[in-house]
């Protein structure tokens, strides 16, 4: 059966398109009934923060780092050690690569695999 078939299925694109159109019509209907007397370009159209001054958009955003604060705090020792190792310099990464390869080779040699 074609994916565009009209039989009911939650994954049918037609179903989703219809739902989207219905939601958009409802949003337009409610928006039209809204307050029209706001003075544009004044405080009336700004965000209401219980009377507080609205900070810049950048300061309002909660970054992912804030969300994971507890996680990073708990794993602090692990991350401190790892962040030190990640210098961002390609030479350091190559040295790490060579050291790991060398150690792996020695272990495999001792184990008799190679």
């Amino acid at each position: 059966m074609s994916i565009l078939g009209l039989s009911y299925s939650p994954w049918s694109p037609i179903f989703w398109l219809l739902a989207f159109v219905v939601v958009m019509i409802m949003a337009y209907f409610f928006r039209r009934r809204g307050q029209k007397k706001y003075k544009k370009g004044t405080t009336q159209t700004k965000i209401f923060l219980c009377g507080e001054e609205v900070p810049e958009a950048k300061q309002r955003h909660i970054r992912a780092h804030n969300v994971y604060w507890g996680f990073f705090e708990t794993m602090k020792e692990y991350y401190d050690a790892n962040i030190k190792a990640h210098t961002g310099i390609i030479n350091d990464y190559v040295i790490w690569f060579l050291v790991v390869i060398a150690i792996s080779g020695i272990i495999l040699f001792i184990a008799g695999v190679v």
Binding site: Q35, K37, Q44, G51, E52
Partner: protein, 143 residues
Amino acid sequence: MSLNAIKRALWAYHINTGSCNGCDIEILAALTPRYDVERFGIMLVGSPRHADVLLVTGPVARQMAPRLKRVYEQTPDPKVVIVVGSCGSEGGVFYESYNLVGPVDQHIPVDIYVPGCPPRPEAIIEAVAKAWVKLEKAEQEVA
């Protein structure tokens, strides 16, 4: 007076500018089953952007002055400001206190004063009824 211009119930936003909570409790008392102003559609809303009436309590603490102005500016026109209690009207027991910059009418225009420490719910309800009449006139002037 019949109400023709305003064809909806009044919604009020309550802001406390440093009140002792006495007036705030009386405002809430007006919503309790004994008075039940919500049966007329009058209710407290969570944002001044939805409000027709500002209910201001408290003598305006220094920190609250800019916030009071901002809330007033964010309320759509036409609007009515009701000061509930003696503190907001003229300072009350906090008159000339070092950390106050009130009363309310020194910061925003006030339409109705409800004196009392605290005023009874009946007085607050009468003030809201007067606000309704004022808004009706303001709406007619706009139209």
